[in-house]
């Protein structure tokens, strides 16, 4: 297989042309996105450079505690991003979300790197951190969708939920449709991704491996594992988090705590 072609700094700067296209589009059509595009560009470059140096250090250190520490920081950051997307002030959901993400993503990453890929030791950072990163990145979006949907529907359908409670339903029965709708909304993007993979798009990880010189037949095997892993971890985390948050929407007397906004 070919050796990877290195991108020099001038070549990297050439890629900024795409950002200029986006900036020009925003300017011409008065989209008001110029500031966001600039901030996004700066963050992409600085965060990825930082990550590059950090990963070089972590891969060299070969320390399980350092690998796990990085994993915890990644999950912690993901919760902050979810918190930014979900505009809910009345019910707190951050701690259960953090703990669920931490445990379910750890189990998924462990299962994949240790049992499926068969890495020795299981915490080998070159495998464990990218695997965990993909799980966290995908499931984080799914979680944000599910949590947002749960809160918004609970508020919108407040009268229907209370009507069911008044007719003898427990809180689970009164909010069953809202719960399933929220979990489905979170899971559909990763199921759709399974439908389109290899047909509509080539996933980032597989493209990366091919660009780095890997055999496409090996790259697809990794991608299949990744696709299955993402569906599984998304299902696990959205269901657990949505179940916990739904309970928090109701008080001790199974009364709906969310007030109209």
């Amino acid at each position: 297989m070919n050796q990877i072609i290195e991108i020099s700094i001038p070549q990297l700067l050439l890629a900024l042309l795409f950002i200029l296209i986006a900036q020009a589009t925003s300017l011409v059509y008065k989209l008001g996105l110029n500031r966001d595009i600039t901030v996004g560009t700066i963050r992409t470059v600085s965060q990825l450079f930082l990550m590059g140096y950090a990963l070089t250090f972590i891969f060299g250190a070969q320390n399980p505690w350092l690998t796990l520490g990085i994993f915890v920081i990644m999950v912690f950051s993901a919760v902050f991003i979810v918190r930014g997307r979900v505009k809910e002030k009345q019910i707190s959901y951050e701690i259960p979300t953090f703990l669920t993400m931490l445990s379910s993503y750890f189990l998924t990453a462990l299962f994949v790197s240790w049992l499926v890929i068969g890495v020795e030791p299981w915490w080998e950072p070159r495998y464990f951190i990218p695997t965990a990163g993909m799980v966290i990145g995908n499931s984080m979006s799914a979680l944000a969708i599910s949590i947002e949907r749960l809160f918004s529907q609970m508020r919108q359908q407040r009268d229907v939920v209370e009507m069911k409670l008044c007719l003898g339903a427990n809180y689970k029965e009164a909010s069953r449709d809202i719960f399933t709708g929220a979990v489905k909304a979170g899971m559909i993007p990763s199921i759709n991704a399974m439908m389109g993979v290899g047909l509509v798009f080539i996933p980032g990880m597989m493209s990366g491996q091919i660009l780095a010189g890997a055999d496409p037949l090996i790259a697809i095997r990794y991608q299949i594992v990744v696709m299955f892993m993402l569906v599984g971890s998304t299902a696990m985390s959205t269901i657990i988090v949505t179940l916990i948050i739904r309970r928090r929407c109701f008080g001790e007397s199974e009364e709906l705590l969310l007030t109209p906004q």
């Binding site: 409670l165 008044c166 007719l167 339903a169 199974e254």
Partner: protein, 227 residues
């Protein structure tokens, strides 16, 4: 008459720091009574009904149902016995039959036998819903019809007491009189205890009626001997 419901020194406020909506509120309701609570909007009438079926929680005080503290009764059991009918009737997507049998799909409701079509049709007639088919969409009914249907649905789960929150506020005079006629019949013929709040000048035509006024956080009721 035996005491069915006792409100003991209740106080309630929406937010922790805010002043209470009412304090030291007490009321005894006997089996078979028909109580009408009147008062200006925002006085706390609806909140009182919501506290009784624990859709809201009182800051202090206790509510006893048949001598048991309602905080110790499983909520589905309490709400099946003391059933709250909201001001705006709520229906789910589906037929009238689906809506009427909705409570029987819940764990609590499955302990009772669901009524058959003949029983439901007979009840529809008694609730002035003659000509309304069980297979008809519930969403297409008028507000007045929905209100009667929601009271009928509440009755199907066999409550001891009905809590009616402004049951006629969204209805025209004819629909309103139908609703009150149904409720009075349920009280006098089926011995259902009724607690209704309203800002209308409705006077129930039943001998066991009692009138209360909710004003400035206090509840003043006419004495039993006054009627």
């Amino acid at each position: 008459m035996t005491k069915l419901l006792e409100l003991r020194d209740l106080s309630f406020g929406y937010d922790k720091g805010s002043p209470p909506l009412f304090e030291h509120l007490s009321l005894d309701v006997s089996t078979g009574e028909f109580i009408v609570i009147r008062g200006p909007s925002g006085s706390g009438k609806s909140t009182l009904l919501r506290l009784i079926c624990r859709l809201n929680t009182p800051r202090t005080g206790a509510i006893l149902f048949k001598g048991r503290n309602t905080a110790e009764i499983p909520p589905p059991e309490l709400r099946s016995k003391v059933t709250y009918v909201p001001q705006i009737p709520q229906m789910t997507e589906g037929t009238i039959r689906d809506n009427l049998l909705l409570p029987f799909s819940f764990v609590r409701g499955r302990q009772r036998t669901a009524p058959d079509d003949v029983t439901l049709e007979r009840m529809l007639e008694a609730f002035y819903l003659l000509g309304v088919g069980l297979d008809q969409s519930a969403m297409k009914l008028s507000v007045g019809q929905k209100q009667r249907l929601s009271i009928m649905r509440a009755i199907l789960i066999g409550p001891d007491m009905l809590l009616l929150d402004e049951p006629t506020s969204a209805l025209d005079a004819e629909s309103a009189s139908m609703v009150f006629s149904i409720v009075e019949r349920l009280n006098s013929e089926e011995d259902k205890t009724v607690l209704t709040v309203t800002h209308s000048d409705y006077q129930p035509a039943v001998p066991q009626a009692r009138s209360c006024i909710f004003r400035n956080g206090t509840l003043e009721c006419a004495h039993e001997s006054d009627h």
